[in-house]
């Protein structure tokens, strides 16, 4: 039993970072009032660019390239939704489709349909003496992103609730006109949040191809970006809530892998496809149970126009 728990905890912590980063990124953008449906596309862009970059440079540097790439796609979203005030959901979905098709096209034309060549994974932090201690051992042996995923939610929490910038971001998501009448720049704040969100989503994608796998695969990130949106809603647009929700979904994922390996008889009862769908079913279930979206920032999705009140 302990072994099962140990391995569940280990694989939860291994799978969580990508989802945590993407959820924090989406939350940052949405707290400032810009819908972040495009997070899936930003993750894919980050994952692809990081994997390609890792062929030519050290993997940690490649992760940074992935982050910048995610922010690059976010910049397109910012340009459409802040500068041109277009519909933010449509803009985000369009970016998802572009990233989907563009990723496939570049992958097939550069490397063939089976993914990029293998790259060096981010190194894992092994403490041999601890590794075999039950449960506690599950905390070691992960790559750096796992520990970053434990740290960043706290930093985001401090940023949003304890700093002037956080106060302004929250204000601009709830009532941009109030921010504008105080002489602050609505678009400046929103740009910062959207680009920051893009960096985080790019990081989430980069982690997928440099820590979870060792290459960019055809289907990366396979809907993880949408799961991040669900986690953001489930976490009520707060950093710590988002973290808890992302962990919960990662646990669902770990549960699937754990069930398949530790209880093979289950596969005879439950079709494999059903198990594969487990995390997504959890997502649906959680959203259905949570119901109303009463915690969303008030001005979410509304382009700011100075002369409208």
């Amino acid at each position: 039993m302990l072994e099962v728990l140990h391995s569940l905890l280990f694989s939860t912590l291994d799978a969580a970072p990508a989802l945590v980063f993407a959820t924090l990124g989406a939350m940052l953008s949405e707290r400032a009032g810009v819908v972040s449906v495009g997070v899936e596309g930003m993750m894919r862009t980050g994952a692809f660019c990081a994997a390609v970059a890792a062929l030519a440079m050290p993997t940690p540097l490649a992760v940074l390239v992935g982050m910048v790439a995610g922010a690059g796609l976010a910049a397109v979203h910012g340009f459409l939704s802040i500068r041109w005030r277009s519909d933010q959901v449509v803009s985000g979905m369009a970016l998802n489709l572009v990233a989907m098709a563009g990723g496939t096209f570049l992958l097939e034309s550069l490397f063939g349909p089976n993914g990029t060549p293998a790259i060096t994974q981010l190194s894992r932090w092994n403490v041999p003496t601890l590794a075999h201690v039950p449960l506690l051992g599950a905390l070691v042996g992960h790559a750096a992103p796992t520990y970053l995923a434990l740290l960043l939610p706290v930093l985001f929490h401090v940023l949003l609730t304890r700093t002037p910038l956080g106060l302004r971001l929250r204000a601009v998501g709830d009532k941009p006109h109030a921010v504008a009448t105080l002489g602050l720049s609505v678009s400046g704040l929103r740009w910062a949040a959207v680009l920051g969100g893009g960096l985080m989503a790019g990081l989430g994608g980069a982690v997928l191809s440099t820590a979870v796998l060792d290459r960019f695969e055809q289907h990366t990130p396979a809907g993880l970006g949408f799961m991040a949106l669900a986690a953001m809603v489930f976490g009520r647009w707060t950093p710590l809530g988002a973290f808890a929700a992302a962990l919960f979904f990662a646990f669902g994922n770990a549960l699937r892998i754990g069930l398949a390996s530790s209880a093979p008889w289950l596969l005879e009862l439950v079709p494999q496809g059903f198990l594969l769908a487990l995390p997504y079913l959890l997502t649906l279930l959680v959203l259905a149970l949570q119901g109303q979206r009463g915690h969303a920032p008030a001005a979410l999705g509304t382009p700011y126009e100075q002369e409208s009140r």
Binding site: A171, L182, A298
Partner: protein, 508 residues
């Protein structure tokens, strides 16, 4: 933008009022002074030197503060957070909320406001929120404070308090610019009055040397534009609309048959909290029943219950011969309920459709709008033309999109449509919000007409003057309960105001 050749002098240490009809350019001019809008031409001098305000930041830096008509507060933040937003005190890079609260409390105390810096803004009354706005400006060192229509949402008591606040600020050497269209109130508090009309400043007078009617005619323009347009003499329209004088009503209070008899109505608001907590009221044919109250005390929900738009959770009633429970908008319409909703663009019209299509909405299956299963284009055009002429809608063109009309003319179309159906019970909510004097007078005249024809009218209005001017009886709602019920002869502005704040009736 709606300014052409507007000029304004502001003298330090005075209370200047700027008056004008809706759309006369008052708010636009103030937004220019505050750096939110940028003028195409013209100069702006401060202390004799030309100044360019690129953004509110510049205006704030030069000591100009503004309290907007629609409050610029973030409802989910606390009072202190709202006040310090943009110039937050920090300690080692982190927000120092304790210091913020102390600073805000100090500013509030200096100017004699009672405010809890740690209260969330959305828990405050409208009057307190306004104080937060004023403190916000003063906290930034405003020497000139612009208040845009500050009393539109206040009870008479809160308005009195605000007047004292404004006088107090002037005594402390600050300059106050008050935008308003309530002339009586303006004359009670201002030193000087500037009158705007169609984007121009047309007059500047000392408050002590003018009268309400003189100002009113300056506002609408000399001559009889109002009379010519509306068919209602300007003076009487202006009087009721502007001064709230309880005009002696020609028609005696008739008590026709009961059209609505409701007991102990209960309903939930949009937020799921109880909005109506036992409201009982009766409405007779041939009377206007006013529903007074501060915004958000259940008026909207009451109107929605009566028109079938909101589910009744408890209580019972009879509406035009049928039960009130289980009412749907279709049933309400079939029984003869007319509805002029608060937000016409959301609930009354389709703005992209033409005027005649909007007139036919809801009755599009009946003659003269339809013949059998087909649209009767000719009949619809004729009826629309008739209505546009009768109600003086401008332009009188049935084929333009409704959104091309001004707000006042859109409202006339809605009122025309609802009254044309000859309702037995008419539910109107804020029927004249945002309309200019001419349109206000006309809508009022139409409501009186409907009453004379024998309709029962339920009128929800946040504008106490409107309630006083039109109602035969008034119910006051406070937190979803009726806290006062007055026949016309007992109407008293002060007492209504007290009940609107939830005060108990005086004993003895």
């Amino acid at each position: 933008m709606s300014l052409e050749d507007a000029s304004l002098d502001i003298v330090p240490g005075e209370l200047l009022a700027v008056v004008g009809e809706n759309g006369a350019g008052k708010s636009s001019l103030m937004n220019v002074l505050y750096g939110l809008y940028h003028p195409d031409a013209g100069t702006f001098l401060m202390d004799g030197k030309p100044v360019r305000l690129k953004s509110p930041r510049d205006a704030i830096a030069r000591g100009i503060g503004m309290v907007h008509q629609h409050f610029m507060l973030v409802p989910t933040l606390t009072v202190a957070e709202n006040v310090v937003l943009g110039r937050e005190p920090t300690r080692r890079g982190l927000l120092d909320l304790d210091r913020a609260c102390d600073e805000v409390a100090a500013t509030a105390k200096r100017f004699g406001f009672q405010l809890d810096p740690r209260a969330r803004v959305d828990t405050l009354t409208v009057g307190s929120q306004q104080k937060v706005e004023i403190v916000k400006a003063l906290h930034r060192g405003a020497q000139v404070l612009i208040l845009d229509e500050p009393t539109a949402v206040l009870t008479p008591q809160e308005s009195d308090e605000l007047a004292q606040v404004m006088r107090g600020l002037v005594q402390q050497g600050r300059t106050v610019v008050l935008i308003s269209h309530k002339l009586k109130e303006v004359l009670g508090v201002a030193d000087r009055v500037a009158v705007m009309r169609r984007g121009r400043t047309v007059a500047e007078v000392r408050a002590s040397e003018t009268t309400v009617s003189a100002l009113a005619s300056l506002m609408v323009g000399e001559g009889s534009r109002g009379a010519a347009l509306t068919g209602v003499p300007v003076t009487s329209g202006a009087d009721t609309a502007l001064t709230g004088a309880v005009a002696p009503d020609a028609g005696t209070v008739s008590t026709g048959p009961i059209v609505l008899d409701a007991k102990d109505l209960r309903a939930k608001g949009d937020n799921g909290r109880p909005a109506l907590q036992g409201v009982s009221l009766t409405v007779h044919a041939g009377e206007i029943v006013g529903i007074a109250g501060v915004d958000g005390n259940g008026q909207r929900e009451l109107a929605e219950v009566l028109t079938g738009l909101r589910v009744l959770e408890g209580g019972a009633g009879t509406l035009l011969g049928g039960p009130l429970a289980g009412l749907t908008p279709a049933k309400a319409k079939a029984r003869g309920v007319g509805h002029v909703p608060e937000d016409r663009l959301a609930r009354a019209v389709v703005k992209a459709m033409t005027v005649e299509e909007n007139v036919a909405l809801g009755r599009h299956r009946q003659p003269p709008f339809a013949r059998g299963p087909w649209v009767d284009f000719k009949g619809r055009r004729e009826r629309t033309n008739q209505l546009l002429a009768t109600y003086d809608v401008r332009p009188p063109d049935p084929t333009v999109a409704l959104q091309a009309l001004s707000g006042g003319n859109q409202q006339k179309v809605v009122v025309a449509r609802e009254l044309d159906a000859d309702p037995k019970l008419l539910v109107v909510v804020q029927p004249t919000r945002g309309l200019d004097i001419g349109a206000v007078a006309q809508v009022h005249a139409r409501l009186r007409e409907a009453k004379a024809r024998g309709a029962g009218v339920v009128m929800v209005s946040l504008d106490l003057e409107e309630v006083l001017a039109l109602s035969d009886r008034v119910y006051v709602l406070y937190e979803g309960r009726v806290t006062g019920h007055f026949p016309r002869k007992d109407l008293d502005e002060r007492e209504l105001g007290r009940r609107m704040l939830g005060a108990e009736p005086d004993h003895g």
